[in-house]
Subunit: 597 residues, 2 copies
């Protein structure tokens, strides 16, 4: 049977203490409370949600009863609005708290966690671009969790390529339109856990330009406002769910095909600027998906560790771990420890990266010059976090199966569900390939690598500061000082190499823009490995600080995991570098009629 | 919807022609016939088998009706015994034919393919170790496919660690025993597609030594021989299926828990030498699983190629591929081509490796000195082929999902089934970790790397022969000659480095045997990448030969895929080398109480 999820509170506490300026006495009680709610109410129904799935009957979608109940308890306990603004009924807590709670939710129950994630992201888009009237009408109920939100972009013929969207909008007046079209893959587009469902829909106003520059964003509620207020007792809009998908995983979240049949919708932001407004929502969702990747690695690690500790199989090769028993625990085998450490290194390194993104988000929201600078770095890190942490999350999830051998393949083990649920994460909110193009094309080459240089400068500075001789009063006597210095030495060359690699591609791309596409995926993976090394170095460095009230075994484990990461995972960056440098030749040479015979 | 499987006959023909001494006029008609049978009868019911699954009711297991029908047609058409000896009703065809047919079967229908694979392997064990009476009684029906076979090893408390087996055998006379115990994970342990089911069971004769040296192999039929002949109208043995597993995939193959309640069994081979006999079966199954890995990559490639050609999404960055349409085909994007080429390179490279293993098997079966030498190399290559080709098969399968974006996550796409079905392949017949220990511990260090040196000598020789100046009449004018020479130059250093790497681990292992465990996985993956590079070089070299009656576009595609493999996949070997060289330190340092907090 699957192990019960336990939120990684010790690590969150360590990160808040050493990587942020937050007061942990203020933050930890809330995280403790969130953890116990999520462990008890959400993690416990994950398996049931997978087995029961959602049902569709004549336009009605029913969530698994246990999932609906867990959602209602979440709303009733007031968790929905924790990071949303106080004026709309939220608690206005920082993104640093939000990212940790988000990770717990998606680790404990990925299918259910999509409902609050989408609702929260929809709120952010309405806050940023909606009219005062839309805000007044929709935000209070959405922030309370009484109404849920969706993101309606994909159509049958267009997924990644939004420019092809055909859904049309016909104006009724300046703000009101009728929306007609069919959207697919709408998560929780229809379900019985919400009194109203608020769709944010990309559509093209008749006569608007082709491509993404002709798209506008509309708020289309399931129930229309009655005398100025949307209400479940209001008028039904002509929005309907015409089917749900059978899919590999996340069975407890209905993936709906939504039909908009001259449905009333309200313009959010300006006409033809829908992509900008949608990307407010999308960037939130991408960061949310990054934490889902961390949640995958964490959950996979916990399952693997529990099993590897209990399961006796084979005699340890290491004499120090060999017992008098017929067989030793799986964890005594080096190759099993390799898999556990890989999961652990991705989970904790990824958590530090997500936390950093959250602090940037908090700073960006504060505005000003510093806010703008933070937003740029956040823009750089978002595609890395989204793609790299979900790709590595899938590796961790696959290891959760592998550690169990054949038992991992059996439903009852619970771990094959981790993989099936997780497999969506590299696909939705922009595939890994889309993130890679966003990173290399837009975020790096698009600004002449200026933001990348800002970021690598931080890496330089950290490495240089660690290389300094230890002040007599500080770390010098700490046994880990030598380790941290050697890690800093190992990372330093990457801080130079990373922008150089971008420059090499940039030079080739001047001749042929397809070089960007050929290099993008490997450049992203290279960036991810280097990025995580930076956060591992930060953690290893922090773990030798004096005065931390943290279990010394925990601090020692941080150093050891950092060493593992540098020894065994960071070297993968070199392979991706070689692939980037190989250029497009080997990819582009095939003729159309040469692929299959 | 999923594409219909098309057997890769052009590649099989090319490989037979250039990599073996077989007469293709003799071989191809049979492969053509197999292909059309498998495409029409097996591939078409793969999805149905997944959806319907098997049912269990009071000890009876029912296959999905379509799967049972496909199996019966296979038997009726006489395919079961093609590589089994003529004296027992087989056709005595070579393993080179067998490996290709096996790949087609597992590509087209992995769940169903396990039934003939296990039956064939059971026959091989009976042929090698069974008494004349057992052969006479069981082989004719098994070779005909009227009776199917199983391999019963795993028990609830022991999977990889067979030494822990508790099933007991009590002698009735010299050859007959009563077998008591419960075995789990028995593929097709009970089903309605066979008149009798012949279990090969590992058990411990009372009083035998502990561990694997006390295990014996027994043939335990579902129906006992009646007056000297086993028959469905004979006596029911006390063997029963007490349940089937719910699992991630291969739903059309029942994974049974089998209870042996003082069941009558017949000793196969000598007492306490059961492991040796079982490994005859196991090695066959490992090679079969390697071809399953190739089948995964092939099937994933076909699905991805078909979709990427049809689906229009995004404008090509490459001006040469940009059409006047609103969007270009997915295949025009470099990153999609990267995924397709990865699948293609693993499928075709893996096929060449499996074919080589099959030629070694044929040579080994011929006996003599040459046979013994072939058997040694086969022993070295078996764990590489099994683990590397299934690991890369899973990567290919995951790309089949990724190429489709969100559509790949939907059941109807058919590709998520490829992944779910394929996921078992790195687990059963010995996990990747077990293969890695077998390779490094037993096959390489166990014989002082002598067999590895034999194999790398072949690589040296090929590279050296290609480096020779071209004879005036031969390849010199062939445009690909330069390419092949540069690939040979790239591979040559690996032929030196590979045994050196083994030696480095060997030296460390003298001090601490756990170093073998710490290095094993990465050593195996390193070996796999180098090994496939060797077969890609052989193919690229062969593709420039004169007088091949092969479509020149096909030969050019071979060169291009070889170049892609060397540019983009072989460099991964360097990362695995670094991981091997990192040693055990980072893996072994964690204390038991440091893993979670």
């Amino acid at each position: 049977m699957a192990k019960n999820y336990a939120a990684p509170l010790a690590d969150m506490r360590f990160l808040l203490q050493t990587q942020t300026t937050r007061d942990i006495d203020d933050a930890m009680p809330l995280l403790d409370q969130a953890a116990s709610f999520i462990e008890q109410e959400w993690a416990t129904v994950k398996t049931l949600g997978d087995i029961r799935g959602c049902t569709f009957d004549q336009g009605q979608v029913t969530l698994p009863a246990e999932i609906k109940a867990a959602w209602i308890r979440y709303v009733d306990a007031g968790w929905m609005g924790i990071t949303l603004p106080e004026p709309w009924g939220g608690q206005g807590l920082s993104a640093t708290i939000g990212t940790f709670v988000g990770e717990m939710l998606s680790s404990a129950n990925p299918a259910l966690s999509m409902i609050p994630a989408l609702t929260m992201s929809a709120c952010k888009a309405i806050i940023a671009f909606g009219s005062e009237s839309l805000k007044q009408t929709y935000l209070p109920k959405m922030v309370a969790g009484e109404w849920t939100g969706t993101m309606c972009m994909t159509e049958a013929h267009c997924g990644s390529d939004l420019g092809l969207i055909r859904t049309t909008a016909t104006p009724l007046d300046e703000h009101r339109f009728t929306i007609t079209g069919t959207k697919i893959f709408i998560s929780a587009g229809e379900h019985d856990g919400s009194a109203n469902i608020i769709h944010l829909v990309l559509a093209r106003i008749k006569g608007a330009p082709e491509g993404v520059k002709g798209l506008s964003l509309f708020l289309v509620p399931k129930w229309l406002p009655d005398s100025g207020h949307a209400t479940e007792s209001g008028v039904a809009n002509t929005v309907s769910c015409i089917g749900i998908e059978q899919k590999m995983g996340i069975h407890a979240n209905p993936t709906c095909t939504m039909s908009f049949d001259a449905a009333q919708g309200f313009l959010v932001g300006r006409a033809n600027e829908g992509i900008k407004a949608m990307f407010t929502m999308m960037n939130e969702m991408r960061l949310g998906t990054a934490t889902q990747g961390v949640g995958l690695s964490e959950c996979a690690f916990q399952e693997s560790h529990a099993y590897a500790t209990e399961r006796m199989q084979g005699k340890a090769l290491d004499p120090a771990r060999r017992s008098a028993n017929q067989a030793d625990a799986l964890i005594s085998h080096a190759d099993v420890r390799r898999m556990l450490l890989t999961q652990k290194a991705f989970a904790e390194g990824g958590r530090a990266l997500c936390l950093h993104c959250a602090t940037l988000l908090d700073r960006a929201q504060a505005g000003g010059d510093e806010g703008q600078a933070a937003e740029k770095v956040l823009g750089l890190l978002t595609p890395i976090a989204k793609a790299f942490l979900t790709e590595t999350g899938l590796e961790s999830a696959s290891y959760a199966i592998q550690v169990r051998g054949g038992h991992g393949y059996i439903r009852d083990s619970g771990v094959e569900q981790i993989y099936r649920d997780g497999r969506i994460s590299t696909l939705y909110e922009g595939t890994t390939g889309i993130q890679a193009l966003d990173l290399l094309g837009r975020k790096v080459l698009g600004d002449q690598a200026q933001t990348l240089l800002t970021f690598t400068k931080q890496i330089h500075q950290l490495c240089a500061s660690i290389a300094q001789p230890d002040p007599p009063i500080d770390h010098s006597s700490h046994p880990a000082s030598g380790v941290v210095k050697s890690l800093a030495q190992a990372l330093h060359p990457y801080a130079r190499e990373w922008p150089q690699l971008a420059q090499q591609v940039g030079m080739r791309a001047l001749q042929d823009h397809d070089e960007v596409g050929a290099a993008a995926y490997d450049f992203l993976m290279y960036s991810g490995y280097v990025c995580l090394a930076y956060f591992w170095l930060r953690m290893a460095d922090a773990a030798r600080a004096d005065g931390l009230e943290v279990d010394p075994r925990f601090l020692s484990a941080k150093q050891k995991t950092a060493t593992f990461y540098f020894d065994r995972l960071l070297p993968r960056a070199q392979f991706h570098k070689v692939a980037v440098q190989a250029g497009k030749a080997a990819l582009s040479s095939f003729e159309d009629d040469q692929w299959s015979f």
